[in-house]
Amino acid sequence: MTDYVIKAVKLSRNFGDIKAIQNLDLEVEKGRIYGFLGPNGSGKTTAIRMLTGLLKPGSGEVEVLGYTLPEDAEKLRLHIGYMTQKFSLYEDLTVKENLEFIANVYSLSGRLKNQRVDELLGIYGLNEKKNQLVGNMSGGQRQRLSLSAAILHKPELLFLDEPTSAVDPENRREFWEQLFDLSDQGTSILVSTHYMDEAERCHKLAILESGIKCADGAPDELMQNMGAKVVEITSSNLRQLKRELLHLSGVISAAQLGARLRVLVKDTISDPVTFLSRQPCVDSDDHLSRVRPSLEDVFVISTGTG
């Protein structure tokens, strides 16, 4: 039997007329990194807030770590960590003071507290900065501090809401390494992002668009089963070519990537390269090749944008 840390059935929530989340079904397995992929305003934050007990669901059922929400929200709090999208620690306290405050709030005291704070300062490379005011620190440092604050009480389940939106690529790489370390130690993680490359690192992910889950599954699975083939065309007049290709019924979308045009062709066409090269708008000296689908293609197909 699979062990689920999050189970949600037909979870919905409206803000006035806006349907922030509609009928979200979710199953997150223990010990995995689960991703929410979606553009800004797609309901990622609302979903996370409902799963952490910060927002009451409008309708539907949620069970997180075996606690039914919203009734057991207070009990759940001891077992989850939450890293908010906006930096939410105190800018007028130092790194160490912030961590000690969190430790005190979770009733860690004395030697245990010092040990844990020192341990986290070490793991996340904050030792040199420990007496610096948080307000003066860079995005990457704040992010590592936020993460260490969120996991200070060793939660079983960690929620991260766009944790890498304010940091550079190098820090992002390192950050994901740290997430895998946590995952390796048994922490289940739910992370939201709008970066495709980050989503690809998740064990499983759900694609959200306007509050609706369009697709979910492991990244590879999603790419294989997306129902389209990908062809890249190198040509001299890509803008013109793109406009004309989009009129074809077999073409789902076309997007320019530098000197190439990435074309998504319906799965029903068995040989997309031949299909495209026969089109009058494609020149004989244009170069066409089948390529491996990416998560962005999945996103385009499942959200119907592009």
Binding site: P70, L89, L93, F101, V105, Y106, S107
Partner: protein, 381 residues
């Protein structure tokens, strides 16, 4: 036990943040210090040296002596001379002077026949004695100024004519307890404690919850196991000490500079102050759970502050207010505290003998704490 740890965590955090906020920290000391000096010296209900003018139709030696005698009372200062009344009235209208003394041509006759002077033979008839010596035209819009000038109405005139002052036996003997010299500061300084604490205490906590929300800390805070009442207590406790420091500054300096006695003993004083500080702090917390941003919380603080200054008995006696205003005043913690602290500091009462004020402050604190804790929801709904 865990609850205490969490409260201590919040208290520690608040103190550290306060320590970092140099200006706020400075204001803790500067507000009571400056305001005490300012108001202790400035507020005075014994009016002196009101600028007035004179229209002297008699232009005699007597009229000049009369003017000097009036000036010697120090109630008024003759700053302007006018030749006619319309001129003088225009100067009152433009605010340069507050009143004008009109001395008639026959001032010497009037004075001689005046009852208090008692010259003239045969004895003056009733009609003549009823004639006043001169007339004051007063800008009556300010009742306190008007009352001061009115107090000159029956000033003794006998010495004007080198006669021994005629002494009347007063109808009543009045003995002034607690402030025999009638110094305003004796009444103002203990009242200032209430006003300054109302301002600083409500202000500190009215921003407390809102600030966490505005700076984005709230989302983090409510995902932790902190309970609403723990958060509220943690926000209040540091400021109880700060309030105590402020009371110390005001009463200490009030004692040194203005010789305001502190008769009732420190225990009584601390008791009264503690009750009031906690009531004000919880009021601030309630505001903080209602306001959406710090500007709103500041507006609500002022909304409470003004009636606390004007209706609490600090400026104007409670007894003079209409019943409806008295009800409002009764609701304000400042009213009860002003009664308590004036009682303790000046009249040496034990606060337990003013139990209705004590109970109201306790009730107010408990109700405020409950409302704030109930209003504070650990969700973002």
């Amino acid at each position: 036990m865990k609850s205490l740890l969490r409260i201590r965590a919040i208290v520690g955090k608040e103190l550290t943040q306060l320590k970092r906020d140099r200006i706020t920290f400075g204001m803790v000391v500067m507000i009571p210090l400056i305001q005490l000096l300012l108001f202790g010296y400035a507020i005075n209900t014994n009016i002196r040296h009101i600028p007035v003018g004179v229209v002297d139709y008699s232009k005699s030696g007597l009229s000049r002596v009369l003017i000097q005698t009036i000036e010697a009372t120090q109630v008024v200062n003759f700053t302007r001379q006018f030749n006619n009344l319309p001129q003088a009235q225009a100067t009152i209208a433009n605010g340069e002077i507050r009143a004008v003394l009109v001395i008639p041509k026959d001032v010497s006759q009037r004075l001689a026949r005046h009852q208090t002077v008692g010259l003239g033979s045969p004895p003056s008839s009733d009609e003549e004695t009823s004639r006043p010596v001169a007339q004051w035209l007063v800008d009556g819009s300010d009742t306190i100024i008007a009352a001061a000038v009115k107090s000159l109405r029956n000033m003794p005139l006998a010495e004007l004519l080198d006669k021994p002052p005629n002494r009347n036996t007063p109808t009543f003997e009045v003995a002034l307890l607690y402030n025999p010299e009638q110094r305003t500061a004796v009444n103002i300084v203990p009242g200032l404690v209430a006003i300054i604490l109302t301002m600083t205490m409500i202000m500190f906590t009215s921003g407390a919850i809102v600030r966490e929300r505005e700076r984005g800390n709230m989302e983090m805070l409510i995902t932790t196991p902190v309970r609403p009442v723990e958060l509220m207590l943690g926000k209040i406790i540091p400021y109880i000490f700060i309030g105590a420091i402020q009371v110390g500054i005001i009463l200490g300096l009030g004692h040194i500079l203005f010789h305001v006695p502190v008769n009732g003993g420190l225990l009584q004083l601390s008791g009264a102050t503690f009750l009031f500080i906690t009531a004000s702090l919880t009021l601030g917390l309630v505001i903080s759970t209602i306001a959406n941003n710090q500007l709103q919380s500041m507006q609500m603080t002022i909304f409470i502050l003004l009636p606390s200054i004007l209706l609490s008995g600090f400026m104007f006696p409670y007894e003079g207010m209409p019943v409806a205003a008295q009800y409002i005043a009764e609701a304000l913690p400042a009213t009860h505290f002003i009664r308590l602290i004036r009682g303790v500091v000046l009249r040496e009462v034990e606060i337990i003998n003013m139990s209705s004020d004590v109970y109201w402050l306790i009730l107010f604190t408990l109700a405020g704490l409950t409302v704030a804790s109930l209003r504070f929801k650990k969700t973002l709904d």
